[in-house]
């Protein structure tokens, strides 16, 4: 649908090695605005390395990385942030004992007045936090409550709302549903959809194909640092996705071998008592 546009973030044949270990090999990725791009893979598949490159934490050894069609080479997460690429890590970077609004503006506080009396503009920050969270559909009775009293899902959503408010165009979410229950995951997935509808390009890293399929527009499955699957939603069913996640071709081989060994399905032979 938006394929004729230039991708906001585009990786082309990117590779990365740590010593002898090939973490990524020939990985290409195109992330568009108004889309949720899901990156799936088992532990050690290269998901983390991939987002670390995109978010500016790591460099890459080969291939190219373009933002809005312009080649870039980030040296720090700040470089990525300056181009509107924000990452919400699993630990969310919030301080549990501090009020929600203080967390929202931490590190980017709004101040008023001149130096000796330069002070926080508390009213504006509280109001902004409240409206920004409401925009994401989070309605807190009191932005003064410590952020630690919110549920995991709500905290995740505050972190997302914060990234959006501070000018993110590309939002990288690192396993946002990994530590959450079913209900809380649902809440976070709805905010991912809301972020996409707000025009952002969302990169959603997960190892849960069910969550990915609920919100994703494009799916990239990594395996052993290579792309196992790269498909748009229209060309895919949940079963395909689950199949590829579970190991794809490797799983087929395994089934084949098991078939030969002794019939499908584990049927315990309860003979001779």
């Amino acid at each position: 649908m938006t394929d004729n546009h230039t991708p906001v973030v585009e990786l082309d044949g990117v590779g990365k090695s740590y010593g002898n270990i090939r973490a990524l090999d020939q990985v290409s990725l195109a992330v568009h605005e108004n889309q949720v791009t899901c990156i799936l893979g088992d532990n050690g598949a290269g998901k983390s390395t991939l987002i670390k490159i995109v978010s500016g934490l790591h460099g890459y050894d080969e291939g190219s990385y373009r933002v809005d069609g312009v080649p870039v080479r980030f040296t720090s997460p700040r470089d990525a942030l300056d181009r509107g690429i924000a990452t919400v890590y699993q630990d969310l970077a919030v301080v549990p004992l501090m009020p929600v609004w203080r967390n929202f503006f931490l590190g980017s506080e709004i101040t008023t007045g001149t130096w000796p009396l330069r002070r926080l503009d508390v009213g504006t920050m509280r109001a902004t936090t409240d409206t920004e969270l409401k925009k994401m559909g989070i309605d807190l009775p009191d932005v003064e409550q410590p952020i630690g009293t919110l549920s995991g899902g709500q905290r995740q959503c505050v972190a997302i709302a914060r990234a959006i408010h501070f000018g993110a165009r590309v939002l990288i979410l690192d396993e946002p549903t990994a530590a959450l229950g079913v209900k809380q995951s649902g809440v976070v997935l709805k905010y991912i959809a809301a972020a996409r509808d707000a025009g952002l390009a969302v990169i959603f890293i997960t190892h849960n194909p069910h969550h990915a399929f609920l919100v994703g527009d494009h799916f990239t499955v990594l395996q052993h640092g290579r792309i196992e699957l790269d498909a748009a939603r229209a060309d895919l069913t949940l079963d395909d996705l689950t199949h590829h996640m579970a190991g794809g071709a490797e799983l087929d081989t395994l089934r084949h071998e098991l078939d030969r060994a002794g019939g499908p399905g584990p049927q315990p032979q309860l003979s001779g008592t």
Binding site: Y89, D91, L92, A93, V94, V95, P96, L97, M98, R102, F105, L106, G107, S108, E109, T111, R118, R119, L120, V122, M136, G137, I138, D139, L140, P141, D142, E144, Q145, T149, S151, G153, Q154, V187, K190, Y191, A193, A194, R196, D197, F213, L214, V215, L238
Partner: protein, 352 residues
């Protein structure tokens, strides 16, 4: 499948919160860090008021406030540092170091005492800088770093004083240039009606007010809570964690300097072995006032109430004609009871 895609307005997750639509006044009050210490202060005040006749006079109250202020001034710095997640065990002897530095520097070089005062400020800020720098560079726990500083300063105080003066105390500086103006700033009294109140009381209240304002209403205050609450998260959103911590250690240095100057100009001479053990009183006052040992939570007003409790206990024991040897025992009890009270109040406030 497709019904998810148009994703209408996201949900309103207010189900968990509707019953507490607004925090009630009492919940806000009991959620404050200083509540436990305030209740304790009132209880101790009522007790001494009831049992000790002399405690009821305005003059006695002025003495209590003075005693509280000498503890409270350094407690302001210690409390800010504890909210920022660190300890300073060197603050007690640091007070003596500062007084010794000012006194000996001015006396030996026959300078105006104000030169000594400025020199002492640089020494105290330098000690804070050293503590902060070693801590942020080595990532060692502050307990260890400042324990080392504490021991080094304790030795330096004695050794340097003996080396320079040949004695364990400094020479009196009361007849030197600038002494009177310095005494007016650091150790004079203000007459209010029939009561004479020591100037340190006003400095103390000013420092508490400034610290409270900084904590709650400035960027730096936000950072202090953040580096104490979760330093990694703070760093991730761009808070200068190391600079904040070093600044906090230097703030402790500043308050230790101020207390040292008061000591110097109140007594004209300084005993080099003083100050050992005081660091724990400062920390205890901050903890009684609601500071969490783990950082990220506390208030300067609470720490002031903590200092007031200890000042009041120390003087109250005298006014009640008890043996002053019991002072430390009461400090210990107060610390334990106040900490438990704080915990209880906080849990109740959180549960409601």
């Amino acid at each position: 499948m497709t019904q998810v895609h148009p994703a209408p307005a996201p949900p309103t997750p207010r189900r968990e919160h509707t019953q507490v639509s607004r925090k009630s006044w009492s919940k806000r009050f009991f959620g404050r860090p200083e509540v436990g210490s305030l209740m304790g202060a009132v209880a101790i005040f009522v007790m001494f008021y009831a049992i000790a006749d002399p405690f009821r006079t305005p003059g006695a109250q002025s003495t209590v406030l003075y005693a509280s202020s000498t503890i409270g001034i350094v407690t302001v710095g210690v409390c800010l540092l504890m909210i920022g997640g660190e300890f300073d065990l060197s603050a007690g002897v640091g007070v003596t170091t500062s007084a010794l530095a000012a006194s000996m520097f001015a006396f030996q070089l026959s300078l105006n005492v104000w030169v000594g005062v400025v020199f002492a400020l640089l020494v105290s800020l330098g000690i804070g800088l050293f503590n902060g720098f070693v801590l942020t560079r080595t990532k060692l726990p502050s307990f260890l770093v400042t324990l080392a500083t504490f021991l080094m300063l304790q030795g330096l105080n004695l050794a340097m004083t003996k080396l320079v003066t040949g004695n364990v105390a400094t020479n009196s500086i009361s007849d030197m240039d600038g002494f009177d103006s310095a005494k007016a700033i650091f150790a004079s009294s203000v007459q209010i009606g029939s009561v004479s109140v020591k100037i340190t009381v006003f400095w103390w209240l000013l420092f508490v007010a400034v610290a409270t304002w900084v904590l709650l209403r400035t960027k730096v205050g936000n950072w202090i809570f953040a580096v104490g609450g979760k330093a990694d998260s703070a760093r991730a959103v761009g808070v200068p964690v190391n600079r904040t911590k070093i600044g906090l250690f230097m703030t402790v240095g500043f308050t230790a300097w101020f207390a040292g100057m008061h000591k110097l100009f109140a007594f004209n001479t300084v005993q080099s072995g003083e100050g050992v053990g005081q660091e724990l009183i400062f920390i205890a006052a901050a903890v009684v006032g609601g500071c969490l040992l783990t950082g990220g939570y506390g208030s300067a007003i609470g720490a002031a109430i903590g200092a007031f409790i200890f000042g009041m206990t120390g003087q109250g024991i005298v006014f009640a004609n008890w043996n002053p040897d019991w002072y430390m025992f009461f400090v210990g009890i107060t610390l334990l009871v106040a900490t438990l009270l704080n915990l209880w109040v906080r849990n109740r406030a959180a549960r409601r």
